[in-house]
């Protein structure tokens, strides 16, 4: 719930627009993941393997590769991880708590498009089964946490990684992605006229500067955990 927008905070125009944007970017991410887990095989190879003997004429066919299946299994495990981690709220100051978003963790571990897909799936589960984050606001939440959190977070990570170590870059990107996502969230709420932008923006950014510090620590710990073991 850290920044899961419930229904009622956004006007229809904002939620519909963000839903469209989220659908377009997610569609692109799905296509990227699909081409990463499959390979184009000429039919002759398949024929030799005893498959599709009938259509040797067709040029090529897409198949799920062994590495691709492994990658999807890894995405399944990380989706479970992120859902679980997001149920664990930690106190950050008197009267306020926070939890992991996991965008940078998923994107650095699995790849940016895989990471965004995993976060979007977790957000959908939370909205549909748990009433956490509105169903109308799902587009906004996907933009904030999957697109900004995972895709944007990965862009920051690769930028930092040119000068800094992997773990330092991941920590910085994790912190920044949470703060930027919170800023985007307050823009959407302010634009919808729920509350003045000048009030919600500083409050959201201030709170998430603190939540981001915990995000950075958990991201590094989780990446270190997976450095030594296969997914």
């Amino acid at each position: 719930m850290v920044m899961h927008i419930p229904d009622g905070f956004l006007d229809h125009k904002t939620s519909a627009g963000l839903m469209g944007a989220a659908a377009a970017i997610l569609g692109f991410s799905f296509a990227k993941v699909a081409s990463a887990v499959t390979a184009l095989v000429p039919q002759r190879v398949l024929a030799a393997a005893g498959n599709a003997l009938g259509n040797v004429q067709t040029a090529a066919k897409r198949v799920l590769t062994e590495d691709g299946e492994k990658k999807l299994r890894g995405m399944a495990v990380i989706a479970g991880w992120i859902f679980a981690a997001q149920t664990f709220n930690f106190p950050i100051s008197s009267g306020t708590s926070g939890h992991l978003l996991g965008g940078v963790f998923a994107a650095v571990l699995l790849g940016p498009f895989e990471g965004a897909t995993v976060i979007a799936a977790v957000l959908a589960v939370q909205a549909v089964f748990f009433g956490d984050g509105g169903k109308m606001a799902l587009g906004a939440n996907i933009i904030n946490m999957a697109v900004i959190g995972a895709l944007g977070g990965y862009a920051l990570f690769s930028g930092f990684n040119r000068f800094l170590s992997k773990m330092n870059s991941a920590a910085l990107a994790a912190w920044a992605s949470v703060v930027i996502a919170a800023a985007a969230c307050s823009m959407e709420i302010g634009y919808s006229g729920t509350i003045e932008f000048s009030k919600v923006f500083p409050a959201m950014v201030k709170t998430h500067c603190l939540i981001g510090i915990v995000e950075a620590f958990i991201t590094v710990a989780a990446l270190k955990y997976y450095e030594k073991r296969p997914l």
């Binding site: 887990v37 184009l40 198949v63 799920l64 691709g68 299946e69 495990v77 149920t87 708590s97 919600v200």
Partner: protein, 102 residues
């Protein structure tokens, strides 16, 4: 499923030990006085509780475990669908390989 042991434990522990304080946006909304505009989300496990178990810690732990399994199963289902859609995999090929030379 063995690889889900740790996440499942975290979800279970969260039911008992996670902070109950309002988080991030929720806390900001309460401080600034627009929390009332939120419409309570509906869902079979809304509020991270199993309906017939009430709002106990055990109920929260079980809801977290179920959610973790659902999140995992989405991608397990995608693998099933991908296998059917793309056909059988080929032992000698790896991701990105494009042997388009016939």
């Amino acid at each position: 499923m063995k690889k889900l042991f740790l996440p499942l434990s975290i979800a279970a522990l969260a039911g008992f030990f996670a902070s109950q304080k309002p988080d991030g946006l929720d806390s900001v909304a309460q401080t600034l006085g627009f929390a009332g505009k939120a419409r309570e989300g509906a869902g079979p496990l809304s509020g991270y509780h199993i309906p017939f178990l009430g709002e106990s810690k055990l109920s929260a732990a079980l809801a977290g475990i179920i959610g973790t399994i659902i999140a995992y199963c989405i991608f397990a289902a995608i693998i099933k669908i991908a296998k059917r859609h793309f056909g059988e995999k080929h032992e000698t090929l790896h991701s990105g390989a494009c042997a388009d030379n016939n």
